[in-house]
């Protein structure tokens, strides 16, 4: 009670996952934020509840880290910000996918062994 902690380890994990998903989606084609949200919804078939608002901070973070590059384009007469994967982004995607594969393999292994 005395101290007030804010760090929550679960949030960290979730965030990493969201980053991976965004990179994966953008690996196919450049998209704007709304497009990414729609695509994620499609791919995960609504299984993953992502507040669309929390998508944007992740996009900005990835852009700042140099994994994404943004350009403004006009869609149906309106300005939209399109995000595309950079070379560094591609590498990061590979790197994270591999890490994720390993992690899920380990988790699966643990679950099966524990059965």
């Amino acid at each position: 009670m005395a101290r007030h902690e804010r760090e929550q380890p679960e949030a960290e994990l979730l965030q990493g996952t969201l980053d991976l998903l965004i990179l994966k989606v953008l690996a196919l084609e450049p998209l704007h934020g709304y497009g990414i949200a729609q695509r994620l919804k499609q791919i995960t078939r609504d299984a993953l509840q992502i507040r669309q608002g929390s998508l944007y901070p992740a996009l900005y973070r990835l852009e700042k880290r140099g994994y994404l590059k943004a350009t403004w384009k006009t869609v149906a007469g309106r300005d939209a910000k399109f995000y595309a994967l950079t070379k560094a982004g591609e590498r990061q995607l590979e790197h994270e996918s591999a890490g994720w594969e390993r992690l899920s393999a380990v988790v699966r292994l643990v679950l099966e062994t524990a059965k």
Partner: protein, 880 residues
């Protein structure tokens, strides 16, 4: 930058929401509902925006701006707190900035010569066991071997100070300061004349041609900047000098007033026989100070043989940086003042920390609320720190303003005290450094309470903060701060007390004569027309006749030096044939005309004063003071008739003691142990019995004074005296008129300066301690109002309640004072060189300081406690 960022952020969000709304509309929802769903899907819009803003590179600027605005609002909300802190800071930073400006000039600022780090000054350094002493004065006998053998340095000899002379040129008369410098002086400093040249070694010899180098200012004033001035003649002190060079505009030596430089003409006699020279040296390229000193050490061996120095003492020439040399005798004083100023800043910081701590108690509910609502501890600390830093910067700014005025006020006196080359002023470096100090102070006094307050127990803080019942631990910390403040405060007040006692002791010593109704005026006789005893005494006699004729004049006389002034020091070789040890043979030597003792009303103890019959042809006589008898002839039954031989020459030159007078106060001329004013062994001889040679030597660096005793006030006396002198010699102006009181003030100017400066700092310390104790008691009274109310309601007497409220403050102060007194016993030793006439453990000072501070503590505690008199118990309890 940020605006553009915001716009794009908005545009992107709007696109998303519009697209999502369109999608819902396409699914068949009404526009209103579609919009609502889109917003719902999006989640907290502002939260997302905020998170993205955090990622912007210039985000911190905006955050700081917001924190500053918030901090400003908080400070405006509690003006009493803000004003107290700002004033404390302004005073502390102001005092420190002013003192640091002096420190900067004395220790740090480079001298205005090329490559100043290679400029040195040669010092004589004496060693005996682990005692050592450094002196800067040199004589011909130390200069000669340096000139001939010190090959690793480029050196020049010169005379340290300047002396006033009368300058006549183009019908223009002016009293200017002249400095004597040897050949190569300007070259060693690294400054070439703007026009012309400096003296050559061939010219700078005894009997060499009379040449002069002029300052830029003098040249502009007298010759309107005409380059043709070089080669012209000017009349200096009655002799003709040829101008050979003009120095550049900004050129200055260590005698900042000097406007004319003439050749020193070093010789083994005259000035060169005493320690009247200084030696300047520049390290030659590729030579470092250690190498130069090694060479000087080998030269020193031959020097030691030339001087009579006591057994066990070694003497060596040493090169010290010119900067150090120029400020040698003020360095300790400046350091002590700096320490005092630093101490007061520390007290100020502790005070502010205490106030912030107290404030944090009243704010703990606000802070607990912020923490409970999810504010990060770091952010809350950051906010509190921002407030402290804002205070520090504002206070520092006010302090700079104050320092500007302090420097304005103490400029002239400080420049003279510390022999500064340039007037004191705030410079960029000083301000930069002091800004850093303010900021550091802000962080230190702000961080400590901030960490304290954010480590609160939320539940109890929220429950109790409103009543202010929390924080007994914090109260203890504040007590510690006040205790430390009082302790350090005592040290400062004791220091100031010791210096004040020194000053008062000096001012109240019986001078040994009657000072009232005496006016003095001095006159430079460094003039080619006064080279003989006959000419000089004729001037004395005729001018005194003129002065005696002024109505209202009771008596008048001339003497080489006056009480409260520094006298000429000579050695006694023997007294009636008994040799005097060289180390103790010093006496003050004064020539005087008959009537001098009568004019000052100095009591005659035995024998007689001078008369007109003690003239050049008569046997040589002397009047001495009791101090001389006590020191040199303690067991002689009849000192009258004893013969003092100054130079150890022929017996006919010995002075027969004809009179013994009361001791009179003189400024000390040798040895620090005598104090600034002392009763020194002294000899007076009739002016008529000096030799021509004596006059020629003495007039070079000392000016005799005319002493006049009046019957009451004589209107226009100065003008009448001027006229009297001009009637005798139209080319001799008096340089200045002084009463004896002014001479005394001049003699203790340094002590007055120290006492004033330390008193100001100590006064500040007392004020801060008072604020500290007051704040502590006021806080505890505010917190215990409920308790006191209940006690009153239960029948306690008001004075008991007040005693209970006041006692902790007084107890704490007494403990602080006791601790401070012990600490002062050590600190006072550091001041030893500034204290005179009392011991560093002077009981009067310590007792007075303790009493003063106890009174201060009682007053500071009583003021807030007396509010309890108005306490209405019923009201207090209802407020709960």
């Amino acid at each position: 930058m940020l605006k553009k960022f915001e716009k794009r952020l908005d545009r992107e969000m709007r696109f998303h929401l519009d697209a999502a709304t369109q999608a819902y509309i396409a699914e068949g929802l009404p526009p209103e509902e579609a919009r609502r769903r889109a917003l719902l899907d999006f989640g907290a819009l502002e939260l997302a925006k905020d998170e993205m803003r955090d990622l912007h590179p210039f985000r911190w600027m905006e955050q700081i701006g917001r924190a500053l605005r918030y901090a400003g609002r908080q400070l405006r909300k509690s003006p009493a707190f803000t004003v107290t802190v700002l004033l404390t800071l302004a005073l502390c930073i102001g005092a420190n900035t002013a003192i640091f400006s002096i420190v900067d000039q004395v220790f740090l600022r480079a001298l205005p010569y090329p490559d100043p780090n290679r400029l040195m000054m040669l010092a004589r350094s004496y060693h005996k066991g682990n005692l050592s002493d450094t002196a800067l004065g040199q004589s011909f006998r130390t200069w000669e071997p340096v000139r001939d053998h010190a090959r690793l340095v480029d050196s020049a000899v010169y005379s340290g100070g300047s002396g006033g002379v009368n300058l006549f040129v183009n019908n223009h008369v002016e009293y200017v300061q002249k400095q004597e410098v040897g050949a190569g002086f300007f070259r060693v400093l690294g400054i070439q004349p703007l026009i012309g040249r400096e003296f050559t070694p061939q010219e700078d010899v005894p009997g060499g041609p009379p040449l002069a180098v002029l300052s830029y200012g003098l040249w502009r004033r007298i010759f309107n900047g005409d380059p043709g001035a070089v080669g012209l003649s000017i009349d200096l002190a009655g002799a003709s000098y040829t101008i050979v060079g003009i120095m550049p505009k900004t050129f200055q030596t260590d005698a900042p007033q000097a406007q004319i430089w003439t050749p020193l003409r070093p010789s083994v006699g005259g000035k060169g026989s005493g320690w009247n020279y200084q030696i300047l040296a520049r390290l030659k390229p590729g030579v470092n100070a250690a190498e130069a000193n090694a060479q000087l050490a080998s030269i020193s061996q031959s020097i030691a043989a030339r001087f009579h120095i006591p057994d066990g003492v070694s003497i060596a020439l040493k090169a010290i940086p010119l900067q150090t040399g120029r400020t040698l005798d003020v360095r300790t004083k400046v350091k002590l003042m700096w320490a005092a100023a630093g101490l007061v800043l520390l007290i100020g910081c502790m005070n502010i920390a205490g106030i912030l701590l107290a404030r944090s108690v009243t704010r703990s509910r606000e802070i607990a609320t912020r923490l409970a609502l999810g504010g990060a501890r770091r952010a809350v600390i950051g906010q509190l720190l921002t407030e402290s830093i804002l205070l520090a910067l504002l206070g520092g700014g006010l302090g700079f303003l104050l320092a500007y005025f302090i420097l304005q006020g103490m400029n002239t006196i400080s420049t003279a005290q510390f022999n500064l080359a340039e007037p004191l002023q705030l410079n960029f470096f000083v301000l930069l450094l002091m800004t850093a100090v303010s900021l550091l102070a802000g962080v230190i006094f702000g961080l400590f309470p901030a960490i304290e307050v954010t480590a609160v127990d939320l539940r109890s803080a929220l429950a109790e903060a409103g009543r202010g019942g929390t924080g007994s631990r914090r109260q203890r910390k504040r007590q510690m701060l006040v205790f430390a403040e009082v302790t350090l405060g005592v040290v400062l007040v004791v220091s100031a007390g010791l210096l004040l006692r020194t000053l008062f002791t000096l001012l109240h010593i019986d001078p040994g004569f009657q000072a009232k109704n005496v006016v003095t005026a001095s006159l430079s006789l460094q003039d080619a027309r006064y080279k003989t005893t006959a000419d000089t005494t004729r001037l004395f006699r005729n001018s005194l006749d003129q002065i005696h004729a002024i109505p209202g004049i009771e008596s008048a006389a001339v003497a080489l030096s006056l009480p409260y002034q520094r006298a000429l020091n000579l050695n006694i070789a023997n007294i009636s044939g008994r040799p005097v040890a060289r180390s103790s043979g010093l006496v003050n030597f004064v020539y005087a005309t008959p009537g001098f003792f009568e004019a000052l009303r100095i009591p005659l103890l035995r024998g007689r004063f001078f008369t007109d019959r003690d003239n050049a042809g008569a046997p040589k006589v002397a009047v001495v003071d009791q101090a001389l008898i006590d020191f040199y002839l303690p067991n002689t039954p009849d000192p009258l008739g004893q013969q003092i031989n100054l130079y150890g020459g022929a017996k006919a030159d010995a002075l027969t003691i004809v009179g013994i007078i009361n001791n009179i106060l003189q400024q000390q001329g040798w040895g620090a142990e005598e104090g600034p004013l002392a009763r020194l062994p002294q000899i007076w001889v009739p002016a008529a019995q000096l030799s021509d040679r004596d006059y020629q030597l003495i007039q070079q660096f000392m000016s005799p004074s005319w002493v006049v005793r009046t019957r009451g006030n004589v209107p226009g006396l100065e003008q009448k005296m001027r006229q009297a002198i001009l009637a005798v010699d139209p080319r001799l102006p008096f340089s200045g008129f002084h009463t004896i009181d002014e001479l005394r003030t001049g003699a203790v100017a340094q002590q007055r300066y120290h006492a004033a400066l330390f008193s100001a700092v100590a006064g500040l310390a007392i004020l801060l301690c008072m604020l500290g104790v007051y704040g502590l008691i006021a806080q505890s009274v505010a917190q215990r109002t409920r308790e006191f109310g209940i006690r009153l309601a239960l029948g306690a007497k008001t004075d008991n309640i007040i005693r209970a409220a006041v006692l902790p403050g007084i107890k704490l102060s007494v403990a602080g004072i006791a601790c401070g007194i012990v600490l002062s016993l050590f600190a006072a030793r550091l001041l030893k060189s500034l204290i005179w006439g009392i011991t560093p453990t002077d009981a009067t000072t310590f007792i007075s300081v303790a009493t003063l501070l106890i009174i201060v503590a009682i007053v500071a505690s009583l003021i807030p406690a007396l509010q309890l008199v108005k306490l209405d118990p019923a009201q207090t309890l209802r407020d709960e």
